[in-house]
């Protein structure tokens, strides 16, 4: 707990200093994108790591956040400091509505039904031309006077810090433990008084809120929002980040986000081989570090090697 907190604080200090050390705009841009993914990965981690259910619909919240900010900015001309928080809140409201339906389900059903929601939203964005401008997307989103990359950098850093603070508090709170109880064993959780639905909902809405913030930022930074923000490709990237870094830890998704962002860019060197290699690297990481990079560090002390588990988790939960 303290180790994790101190790691986060060190990382924060490092991140604060970064723009003074780096002047290359391209690197700064990558840093902004990495932090953007840090927020997303952190938010997904709340659901995957702490609710223990695998959401494939996280782009629903990224997307609603992005569209909210884009619409508020292009139609009402509102600046970033208003649109981004509103984007978070709207996404949280969506999170609540979607959670109310999806959190009744578990396992593969949850996985697919969340994906279904993201796809429905994508199709709505693609076809509700009057509002979303359909596949043409919303272009020319205002940058609220932020011209320098460095300013964008500090905005996204603040969002990342907020996301991590909220996660940290949640994870180490009684509410967070309740969510973990639900993840680990629904029956036990209920019998000690945890409302599985409510506990999961808290984490889910919190995750949606953060993803919405990230989406709002994205809209302003990229200045263009189209239906692709709902697409599975985004989702795959975030999943890879969370799992590669190590789900259920706070530092893991950060590490994952930074590494994957840099890796994808670095692999531009190999041209056409880029994604082929990327796929291979993802597989290699799963095979050699099955608990993710952070899991690798954390699990070293637990050492549970090749035990036969008494049973598979899914069947465990019977009386």
């Amino acid at each position: 707990m303290t180790l994790e907190r101190n790691t986060l604080l060190v990382a924060l200090v490092g991140a604060l200093l970064l723009p003074f050390a780096v002047t290359d705009q391209y690197l700064l841009h990558l840093a902004v994108m990495a932090l953007f993914y840090v927020v997303l990965a952190t938010s997904l981690n709340l659901v995957v790591g702490y609710v223990g259910e695998f959401s494939l619909g996280h782009t629903a919240f990224l997307g609603t956040g992005a569209y909210t900010a884009a619409l508020l900015s292009t139609h009402a001309g509102l600046p970033l400091w208003i649109t981004v928080p509103v984007a978070g809140l709207v996404a949280a409201a969506f999170g609540f509505a979607i959670g109310a339906i999806t959190l009744r389900l578990q396992g593969p059903y949850f996985v697919i039904v969340t994906l279904a929601f993201a796809e429905v939203l994508r199709l709505v964005a693609n076809n509700w031309i009057a509002v979303t401008n359909g596949p043409m997307g919303l272009a020319g989103i205002g940058q609220s006077g932020l011209t320098d990359k460095r300013e964008f950098y500090f905005v996204i850093l603040a969002l990342a810090a907020l996301a991590l603070y909220l996660s940290y508090r949640f994870v180490y709170s009684n509410a967070g433990r309740a969510a973990v109880a639900v993840r680990e064993n629904r029956y036990v959780a209920q019998s000690i008084g945890v409302d599985p639905f409510g506990a999961a909902m808290q984490a889910f809405v919190l995750g949606a809120f953060m993803a919405g913030l990230a989406g709002g930022f994205y809209a302003h930074y990229i200045s263009f929002v189209g239906p692709e923000v709902f697409q599975f490709a985004f989702m795959a990237t975030i999943i890879i980040m969370v799992l590669m870094g190590g789900k259920g830890t706070l530092v893991g998704p950060i590490v994952g986000a930074v590494i994957v962002t840099l890796l994808e860019e670095y692999l531009r060197e190999v041209q056409e081989l880029r994604l082929t290699l990327f796929g291979l690297i993802v597989m290699a990481i799963v095979l050699f570090l099955p608990n993710g990079l952070m899991g690798f560090v954390a699990r070293r002390r637990e050492q549970h090697g090749s035990t036969i588990l008494r049973n598979t988790p899914a069947e465990e939960k019977t009386v």
């Binding site: 695998f54 593969p108 697919i112 789900k247 796929g279 597989m283 799963v286 069947e315 019977t318």
Partner: protein
């Protein structure tokens, strides 16, 4: 009325295609519980290999189909033994990440080798319309439906009636108990994966002869197949057929009477609605008690 019948026919054909292309996933995801994101890519490889063996090796369609099946069975076996096997028993996530990685690799490696252009797979015979009363279908479609039905029936019988099928179910429900009963669980896993892979590829090649093969088709196929499997209930072939037909007909009706622009939405809406009212899909029973 004729219009309705034609829509219904379209829906049935497409539904059969959906069921067919979800078949491999019913095994690997529905039964084996590996959330297989590479399913669409296995399907795609079926089409691309189909193009290769017919256009380049000059094999006839059915010979080609057999060769593709054999190749993909081998591939599936290897993938299971060397990849999936190593993360088995560690929960859902490593498998998800692994198959996402595999799917990224397979698409892009295929793109590198054959390029992004669509490829035409010569069908078993020349394409042509078939008239059934006021309804038009085509010969290749009928063939695909027939082969698909046969494959589904065979897979169903395999799971329900054969020794291997029972070994599969036992292994996936409790691998430890299965090995204590004398079942070689590793082989069962690998065989199931190989079979799932083969079925995906078969449907890929069959349908590529109706449409065309293409390296980046996988994502869409995976998505629809997941919908079908979930609609029908995990691991049930009857469910997959029902899910496929339901999806196909719903899409045809929605496309016919409302708008084609948003047909894809109907599948997802169906999934949401059905899971709301029947959280285990249409065709599954719960074997769990609290």
């Amino acid at each position: 009325m004729d219009l309705f019948l034609q829509y219904l026919a379209n829906g049935l054909v497409i539904g059969a295609f959906y069921a067919l292309s979800a078949l491999g996933l019913t095994l690997i995801f529905g039964l084996m519980r590996v959330v297989n994101f590479a399913h669409g890519e296995f399907y795609m490889l079926g089409g691309v290999l189909g193009w290769f063996v017919t256009a380049h090796l000059g094999l006839n369609f059915f010979l080609g189909l057999a060769l593709v099946a054999a190749t993909m069975a081998t591939l599936g076996w290897l993938v299971d033994r060397f990849l999936i096997e190593r993360v088995r028993g560690q929960g859902e996530e490593p498998g998800i990440l692994l198959t996402i990685g595999l799917s990224i690799f397979l698409v892009n490696a295929t793109l590198l080798v054959v390029g992004p252009a669509p490829m035409k797979v010569a069908g078993a015979f020349a394409e042509g319309p078939v008239f059934i009363g006021p309804i038009i279908v085509t010969k290749l479609r009928l063939l695909a439906v027939a082969v698909g039905a046969a494959a589904i029936l065979a897979a169903h019988l395999l799971i329900r009636r054969t020794r291997l099928g029972r070994a599969m179910r036992a292994t996936f429900q409790d691998p430890m108990a299965a090995s204590l009963a004398g079942i070689r669980t590793k082989h069962v896993y690998a065989a199931t994966f190989a079979l799932g892979c083969t079925l995906a590829a078969l449907s890929g090649m069959l349908l590529a002869s109706v449409y065309s093969a293409q390296a980046s088709i996988g994502g869409l196929v995976s998505l629809k197949s997941f919908v079908v499997v979930i609609l029908g209930g995990m691991g049930s072939f009857a469910g997959a057929v029902a899910g496929g037909l339901l999806l196909g007909i719903a899409e045809a009706m929605w496309g016919g009477y409302v708008a084609t622009g948003m047909v894809d939405v109907i599948g997802f809406v169906l999934v949401i609605l059905i899971l709301l009212f029947r959280p285990q899909g249409i065709f599954s029973a719960r074997a769990e008690r609290a």
